[in-house]
Amino acid sequence: MSSGGGNVARILYKELVGGDLRKLEAKSNDTPSGGGARDFRFRSYDDLLPVIEQMFPQKSQEPRTRNKQRVTIDVLKGWFYWQDKSTGKVTKKESTFEPPTSARKGEGRIARIHQYPCFDAGHVTIKQGNRILLLLVQLDDGSVWPYYAEESSIRTPGLWDPRVARELIDCIDAKRKEGTAVLGYKDFTNAKGFCNGK
């Protein structure tokens, strides 16, 4: 199992919005019933696919209901790794990335996020002027490590590796339509990248 020390191969990031935090608390976006999908959604699925396929490298055929019909779809699978903050022990759990549905074209999602302790957002608060990014870090050994990164931390000189900080800041600062969450990736093995702003 990966120990977590090693070279970073690529990162995938997405800005969290209020609805994402409610999902983590297993609350619905718009009803008090607690229903609704608990997942992190990624728009621009086709643009992100080069890194999604590397971070979730296995394909699994799984039954789903689409338009009230039972169908079999290809779901991407991998493993999330994280270090327990109190014990320092590294833990892993199988991860799932679901491709777009016909109802939400171009939008993939990491499913069942509330089942992963690594996505615990108890200490995360979204404030004006301090965006929170979900950051998936993949190492050379293939392991994927999820984190939350605060904009203020990323902008603090000398705290982050400058290559990573520059990539994230450039994308945060890029022009995009109001209400659009920051989204992108950088593959340091081939210098390819994507940012949903200009």
């Binding site: 977590g4 970073v8 270090q83 931390s153 705290l159 400058p162 290559r163 210098a191």
Partner: protein
């Protein structure tokens, strides 16, 4: 791990500050620009470009700055505020866009100035390199697709490494100043370029639509030439080194038959282009390469991908030998009409003059691509 070409480019940049990459299309110029940009921003040793990008799962942040030794190869490795600036020259590139100049001020309110002084790419890179701990790499792709000498203007002399400001930012005896319109004040000022501004440019000498660069301009750059590389293509194809004792079979039965034929045909076509037009008109290995692994494909899929790549080679040869049908025929080994070759040079007369015509399929397909490659390879 940085490639040898990347390491070499970094060495040249460190030594001369201005490096000009040239080479035929498909030899990896743009890929090298991207690789050098990543290595420059990393400020780590080029041999371990990502070696400095360390994950720390128990740390304050997951990817802290590298504590490893800064590289001996990276220019200005001790500078922490590093930035890459990029531009592409084209027929409409202007001095104003690259250095500074006056442009109409859009959306101005009533009574405000109607013109503004723009900060060009060179100016912005230069100003960044003048900041505390600053270093800038300016990447110029397709440098000869625009009027490069005009675009550089007075900066042409000042870019030379021994004409820059001192590392401290102070004037040296050799520092070359040139006049620019100051974007801050709108006044004409004397300006010099900083020590830690590095310029990496790329050009394709053989393109018919590009502008020639004059010798005085070229003299100010350290050249780095990229060549078509058979080993890179063989590694990508996964076919190993050429065995001269083994000829291509008459019929294609395995993907390796097809891939070996493609390599041999490409080498032979480039030899003919070099003879007929010169080595700068050859075509690089990159035209055959993609993100897909050929060894994981079936034979049919490989043949289809070869059709796509060889259509590009054919278009390139037709452009290089435009108006010279015999040159195209010689390149494709169609002068004497080898048995398997779907192309054949036919002579005829028109108004009592001898005329040539290259007869052959309009497009490559799964049935004709292998016989064509076997013929091109002169195997």
């Amino acid at each position: 791990m940085a490639s040898d070409a990347c390491v070499y480019a970094l060495k040249l940049l460190k030594r001369s500050k201005n490096v000009l990459i040239s080479g035929p299309p498909g030899t990896g110029k743009s890929k090298l620009l991207a690789e050098v940009a990543t290595a420059f921003e990393s400020a780590a040793n080029a041999r371990q470009t990502r070696g400095g990008l360390i994950h720390d799962p128990g740390g304050k942040v997951p990817i802290p700055p590298s504590t490893g030794a800064t590289g001996a190869l990276i220019p200005a490795a001790n500078k922490t505020n590093r930035k890459v600036f990029r531009t592409v020259f084209h027929q409409n590139s202007k001095y104003r866009d690259f250095v500074s100049g006056i442009t109409p001020s859009l959306n101005q309110s009533r009574g405000s100035t109607e013109f503004t002084v723009v900060k060009g790419t060179l100016y912005r890179a230069s100003e960044h390199a003048k900041t505390e701990g600053g270093a800038a790499l300016l990447i110029i792709d397709e440098i000869n697709r625009g009027p490069a000498v005009q675009v550089f203007g007075g900066a042409i002399v000042a870019i030379e490494s021994d004409k820059r400001l001192a590392q401290t930012g102070e004037k040296r005896a050799e520092t070359q100043y040139f006049e620019i319109l100051d974007p801050e004040t709108g006044q004409t000022i004397e300006y010099a370029l900083p020590h830690d501004l590095y310029i990496l440019a790329a050009m394709n000498q053989a393109d018919a639509s590009v502008e020639p660069l004059d010798v005085a301009f070229l003299r100010r750059w350290e050249p780095l030439r990229l060549e078509p590389n058979e080993e890179i293509l063989r590694n990508y194809y996964g076919v190993g080194a050429k065995d001269i004792d083994i000829s291509l079979p008459d019929q294609v039965t395995t993907i390796n038959d097809a891939l070996e034929a493609s390599v041999r045909a490409w080498v032979s076509v480039n030899e003919q282009i070099s003879l007929g037009r010169g080595p700068e008109f050859t075509i690089g290995h990159g035209v055959f390469m993609s993100d897909s692994n050929p060894q994981s494909m079936g034979l049919s899929e490989v043949l289809v991908s070869l059709c796509v790549a060889w259509s590009k080679v054919r278009a390139h040869v037709e452009e290089v030998f435009f108006g010279d049908i015999r040159g195209i025929a010689a390149t494709f080994n169609a002068l004497d009409g080898q048995g398997s070759n779907p192309f054949k040079l036919v002579d005829t007369t028109f108004a009592d003059d001898l005329r040539f015509r290259l007869e052959g399929p309009a497009n490559f397909d799964e049935n004709n691509i292998y016989p064509a490659l076997k013929a091109f390879a002169r195997d």
